[in-house]
Amino acid sequence: MTFEPAAAPRTGDGRGDRWLTVVVALAASLFLLFIVAPLAGLVGTGGARGLRALVTDAELRNAILLTVGTATLATLFGVIGATPVAYALARGRFRGRSLLAALLDLPLLIPHPVAGIALLLVLARNTPLGAGLWAVGLQITGSVTGIVCAMLFVSAPLYVSAAREAFDRVDPRFEGVARTLGDSRWQALRRVTLPLAWRGLLAAAIVMWARAVSEFGAIVILVYHPKVASVLSYERFTAYGLREALPVAAVLVLLALIPLAALRALRGDERLPSRRR
């Protein structure tokens, strides 16, 4: 019987691995630099001036307040209207479900000025719906209502998508068990599904709010005045140049940190280690 020595385990080419590591690290660093540098530059250059301007510049302060207020309203309407839609998409097995989901994603994929034009076609005063709304005292174009509509249109699909995922993460058998324990469909939703999905729904609302705050394209087409922060920064840039636009832009970046921090806090809370016996 002949014994053969065991073949040495195959090892990778050390030099090739090192080169690959260097290339990957370089690409990642460049990517991070590309994302972080403009934002850091913006806050570094205009952050302090922006915070001072919040006190001294009434127009900026009003624009920020208007942005926050309208984004909050749009998010509220989105949560009320889109939560049932997200639930139906997560749980329902009806014909046209995929088509409905695709339609709801469409506002995310079209250029936002196009979204504004689409809204204008339906809600302008010379359209049947716009005229009807005008008749009951609800002006869309050039109004706060218009800003809320534009924000809702472009950001609600994000909420629907994230809320649907939140519902998907709750096993329908929890609801089933609740039903066999005497709950009606609504009771099971209220007592079991919503308490289990609330983190995901809140995260979805935060994402929607953040997207609404940053909206520009649809608002500028549908409303322009009164000016939200994004429109104000654009106006100051085109009228007075970069220097005047910087404080507004920096405040918008700082404003975006609020939802970012909220999302981090939510996710951190989710990841709290559970005690196991």
């Binding site: 089933g176 324990l181 005497g182 196991r276």
Partner: protein, 357 residues
């Protein structure tokens, strides 16, 4: 009482087809079948969580085919408990309870008093299942549906939980339908056994009958019959010594010659001549080292092929003219007979031990 009449239901691509059986009021029904048989779909259809597309469902004498789950007066316990993770143990047990007193009673019965205020996410698998059972029973259901409720429990805990459930069952006499793939459990608990496979009903009957008289080779194989042989059955002539002319009833069973390979077995049955299967449970086959002079009709000489001891029982496979016949004998007998591969033995079993299907 649970009564299904030609019930069909669909979940995704899976169909449950034409299921009919009845579990009398206060009886314990067992659903057995391999993975993918549709056991859980059946239970969920009875619970109203999967819509019934055809047929009718009776619960407690009322038509509940399309009733909402909350109107069916039943409780359901899944294998994975599905405790509500945002509620404590006490809140879970009390979720559908008929009264706070019953909640406390159930918690005490299942030994949950010490963990009442605990977060259910940190309970062990056994504790979770106890909470699920207590929660289901606190509703005082008329029908209890159990989907493999003991599968996640360790053997010691399984025995104690099963015993506690049986105690409550005998006290209150609700109707139970339990899904299991454990044949031992089926035999131990059930009054009525239901065998499913690939969404179809294969057989309904007393668990003992399912084991002794399977309706098809598939059922026999699934229920762990060691000796299932394909062959041809031929009723033996209606005359002495195989036929008593004094018996005239038409449905009296015939003596049957069943031929499989080079072996012909003697059986008793209603078989139509032609292809059939013979099922012989291993514990019906006895072994000896000498040919016996007894009334046993089937006696064959063979050689031991394999010996598989498992505790007090040893399974011995004997080659009978090419037919692998398995006998379950006590390990002590196997030792006393000095069985070993290649040893010549005589295998014997009664004609009545051969079930033809």
């Amino acid at each position: 009482m649970i009564g299904l009449d030609s019930v069909s239901a669909s979940v995704g691509d899976f169909d449950l087809n034409d299921i009919s059986f009845a579990i009398p009021q206060g009886s314990y029904g067992i659903v057995i079948g391999p993975t993918g048989a549709g056991k859980t779909t059946l239970v969920e259809a009875i619970a109203g969580l999967v819509p019934i597309t055809k047929g009718t469902l009776q619960l407690g004498g009322s038509d509940m085919t399309h009733a909402a789950p909350e109107r069916r007066r039943l409780s359901l316990v899944y294998q994975h408990a599905y405790l509500f993770p945002h509620l404590t143990v006490r809140e879970n047990v009390g979720y559908g309870s008929v009264s706070p007193k019953v909640t406390v009673e159930m918690m005490e019965r299942f030994g949950l008093g010490e963990v009442a205020g605990r977060d259910v996410r940190i309970l062990s698998g056994g504790e979770r299942q106890l909470v699920a059972l207590a929660r289901a029973l606190a509703r005082r259901p008329e029908v209890l549906l159990l989907d493999e409720p003991f599968a996640a429990l360790d053997p010691r805990r399984r025995i104690s939980v099963r015993r506690e459930l049986r105690t409550v069952y005998f006290e209150r006499r609700f109707t139970v339908l339990q899904v299991t793939h454990d044949f031992h459990e089926a035999g131990l608990l059930g009054d009525v056994g239901v065998v499913l496979d690939r969404g179809r009903l294969l057989q309904v009957g007393r668990p003992e009958d399912l084991f002794r008289r399977p309706a098809s080779p598939v059922v026999a194989d699934f229920l762990g019959a060691e000796n299932v042989f394909a062959g041809r059955a031929q009723p033996i002539r209606d005359e002495s010594p195989d036929w008593s002319p004094s018996v005239t009833a038409e449905d009296v069973e015939h003596a049957v010659a069943f031929t499989t390979g080079a072996v012909t077995l003697y059986a008793i049955g209603h078989v139509i001549p032609g292809s059939a299967h013979a099922v012989i449970r291993a514990d019906e086959v006895s072994l000896s080292r000498v040919a016996g002079a007894s009334s046993v009709r089937n006696q064959f000489r063979g050689r031991v092929m394999d010996i598989a001891p498992a505790g007090a029982i040893t399974r011995v496979t004997v080659d009978v003219s090419g037919l692998p016949l398995v006998a379950a004998v006590t390990t002590r007998s196997a030792q006393e007979l000095q069985l070993a591969p290649g040893v010549e033995v005589f295998a014997a079993f009664k004609a009545t031990a051969v079930h033809l299907c």
